[in-house]
Symmetry: C2
Subunit: 575 residues, 2 copies
Amino acid sequence: MSQVAAQARVEFRVQPGQYRHWRVSVDGPVATLIMDVAEDGGLVPGYELKLNSYDLGVDIELYDAVQRLRFEHPEVRVVVLTSGKDKVFCAGANIKMLAASEHSWKVNFCKFTNETRNDIEDATAHSGQFYLAALNGSASGGGYELALACEHIMLVDDRSSVVSLPELPLLGVLPGTGGLTRVTDKRHVRRDLADYFATRAEGIGGRRAQAWRLVDEIVPRPAFDKAVRERALALAASRPSADGAAGRTGIELTPLAKTRSPGHETSGEIGYRFVTARLDRSAGTAELTVSGPDTDAPADVAAVHALGADFWPLAMTRELDDLILDLRTNEPELGTWVLRTEGDPRRVLGYDELLLTSAGDWLANEIVHFCKRTLKRLDVTSRSLIALIEPGSCFAGSLLELALAADRSFMLDGTFSDDRARRAGSGGQEGVPAVVVVGPANLGALPMGNGLSRLATRFAGDEAGLAAAARATGRPLGAADAAELGLVTFAPDDIDWDDEIRLALEERSSFSPDALTGLEANYRFAGPETMETKIFGRLSAWQNWIFNRPNAAGPDGALRRYGTGQRAEFDRKRV
Amino acid sequence: MSQVAAQARVEFRVQPGQYRHWRVSVDGPVATLIMDVAEDGGLVPGYELKLNSYDLGVDIELYDAVQRLRFEHPEVRVVVLTSGKDKVFCAGANIKMLAASEHSWKVNFCKFTNETRNDIEDATAHSGQFYLAALNGSASGGGYELALACEHIMLVDDRSSVVSLPELPLLGVLPGTGGLTRVTDKRHVRRDLADYFATRAEGIGGRRAQAWRLVDEIVPRPAFDKAVRERALALAASRPSADGAAGRTGIELTPLAKTRSPGHETSGEIGYRFVTARLDRSAGTAELTVSGPDTDAPADVAAVHALGADFWPLAMTRELDDLILDLRTNEPELGTWVLRTEGDPRRVLGYDELLLTSAGDWLANEIVHFCKRTLKRLDVTSRSLIALIEPGSCFAGSLLELALAADRSFMLDGTFSDDRARRAGSGGQEGVPAVVVVGPANLGALPMGNGLSRLATRFAGDEAGLAAAARATGRPLGAADAAELGLVTFAPDDIDWDDEIRLALEERSSFSPDALTGLEANYRFAGPETMETKIFGRLSAWQNWIFNRPNAAGPDGALRRYGTGQRAEFDRKRV
């Protein structure tokens, strides 16, 4: 598995016609998402995906399916998530795959699967697409965690089907896809019962599973399919947006054009229409540049529907989303991402305005939430993020979020004495310094996982600072003003710029990658915590620790010995 | 250092007369706590405690001093925390000590130092003893984190004194004593500035330190002592309880009697007056038994002052506190703690009532908060906690918290057919089944680190369950009622009891100790998060992960190579 990153690049773009593990059908307001994993369809050789166990490839398709249901089937109100196997819902993450994976792969895999489960909850919360888990057989480990991401869990009651979190007793690791957090904080299972449940490898089914709140309904097998169908239809009819949704027509998420410069020892480039990344492997950096729109925003939301996947905010966000996933998985040694934008700030604000004033339109709503999710992906990315704000850039409104998501930002005070201003496409004019603009999109429409806007998180506990920044809404701010308002970290001038940036990047690359990951995971989420920040902060950190310990990952550890017939050998010291 | 646990037991009991590293002086409402670490006073050989760097021994004295100021000097309103060295406040945790320590020692050390810093904040919040950090020289790493635990930080402004968090750039680890959390969540330093600060090994001093909120005041050296004195007096005069406190007379925290049975391969016993622990090394368990009071509660709070350290709640809590620290540090392989009580539930409730109805009395207040802190220590202890509720036990009110803190509890339904009822001292009578009693102490007086009572945490999201439990206040509940109300996990009868307990304990010992630590760290804190749960949950988990990684702790890692003149070698993969 350690060869994966080195040998084969993982590609996150997928089309329904290519799915190997999922079947999607839509019948009016009810969609059915059937997990039917191809045993021989593993992303890399070395394991069989038995019993609906999954690897990253299975989850890439799931992410795509969840996303398409929102954009392509907005009429859907209920999504029934079930299994195409006879007696099993899902056995969770494939253990052979996990055991053979190197640490960074395991961690990255868990992060993506966590994001996809959060996406399911986000679809329920913000697209009105209610997820119903129909467990027509046992749901174990990650399989039960997938069900936990749904809002209603129905379990077949047949004396053999159970839900379980067997990770601790069988593998010596945690349920790493939010299970521990959702059992207590979402489903309100009492913590002592939750403790017992997570140590009981054989799981819990029937009435006890229901009484303990592990599932919502149990239904005898003969009546199961009918009960699920009726429940789905009843839910669909009772959803707040049931009436309005029926008349919606989805848009197609057309294939994403992407180029990659021929592989190279030291450099490379990944290109899309509005997003590019320049990879510098010797410096350990990736420079991401997001281009603003090349036309003004259309006059009304009807044009958004007409443009569909070509509408700039959607096109750009899809590209950025794919790029983040690509770099995270395929370029683990590029530890610093430099974030740039190019274009006209006013145009960005125009697109923001169209979207935010069309919040009642399902597609406008979807695009805003997709933008929110993509920015959240950035927040939990274990790379140092440095924003460079230069003449010709368009850090305004939704694109200002990139700078606010960064660990640090540098904004040029004045202009460059050389001609760098003009390299910046549409927005760059000689002699015109960079501006940043706070827009309505920065004031709550794109919240982080902690429930706050990036601006509110930035000024956590500094109400006056937050109010001052908010008051500047709509005003193009030069470097001095932006620094004064606390919107950027540093504002060097032309004389210092190159040295200061170079030193900052070189220094960042010289630090321990692990310590940086820990630092950023702590600093990026000041203020309140939510289930989401708990999952990415607390739960993932403990899991990462456990993944690193010989008791799990050592040659005699539980994860490595699973299935060999040999018991694990533990260092019994409690830490 | 790995020999510490095996060879020399660490003892947490200490008296001011024995302090090697701290001097305490009290002058009316102002106490001064001077850190003056003896270089040759390390807890174990192998390192010198230069520049006021500290090890566990230094922190044991600090904990004692903070505790005694509350009980022995209740007239104190302001505690000035400063250094006895000329040009340095504190260099943080001793790096040679850390580098040479095994993983479990590092983690346990950080946990205790975190608890002591939380104690400082607790003294400010709940005893009205305001901590003022007077940085008469540089405060680095853990030294600055100690200052962060204070409410007001004064830094000498002399062009050389700085505050810094150099752990990341110099050692490849995190500031592990709450620094990252307090910088953003307590002091509201903007996160990009906080990021820069934590990468700048040389620190920040003077005006910039103040402008960035890293310190509250800067004062030129010649004026420093006077400014600190004046600030302390002004704060003392303005504290809410300034007037009332002057007339208070402290009580002495007399030496704690403790016996330890001669060391033994497989068993041992630690005994105090009201608390005992039976150690079973082959089973990997410690059985802690807390005895209830052997007399009824006195009639009024005057008697509490007269009894002082002999007052049962205080005596018992001090013993339990010492035992928790002892077992955590000296017995890392005893992974399961069985919690028992013995005595008369009504008497426990009587003591609770006296304390809770005397909340205006400083000593009653101190005892309740000390009980709260000791229970919090249990919550963050990385051991499985199993409460056994048997005939003769007194799980009522404050002692019921032990069962609520446990990961699981078992309550005997009925009585034992053999004579086990009578072994249980005062409360055990043949033929009388166990009861548990919810008391006023369970309804908010003893909150967990998440700010909720253990009962509210237990029923997080289940308002009806919480209300039903609260309605049972004062009513002795048999096993069936307690189980029905969700106050205990399981209620087996005499026939099943022995087997069920044995299996539960054996099973627990068979699991991965690491996975159990992670499981418990997640389950124990459902619901809201606070700075405290962030420190013990998120920050500590990331630090533990980093401590385990070759980039820090490997032979070429930053922590091991510090001071050798060789740069660390990093695996550059970002995880």
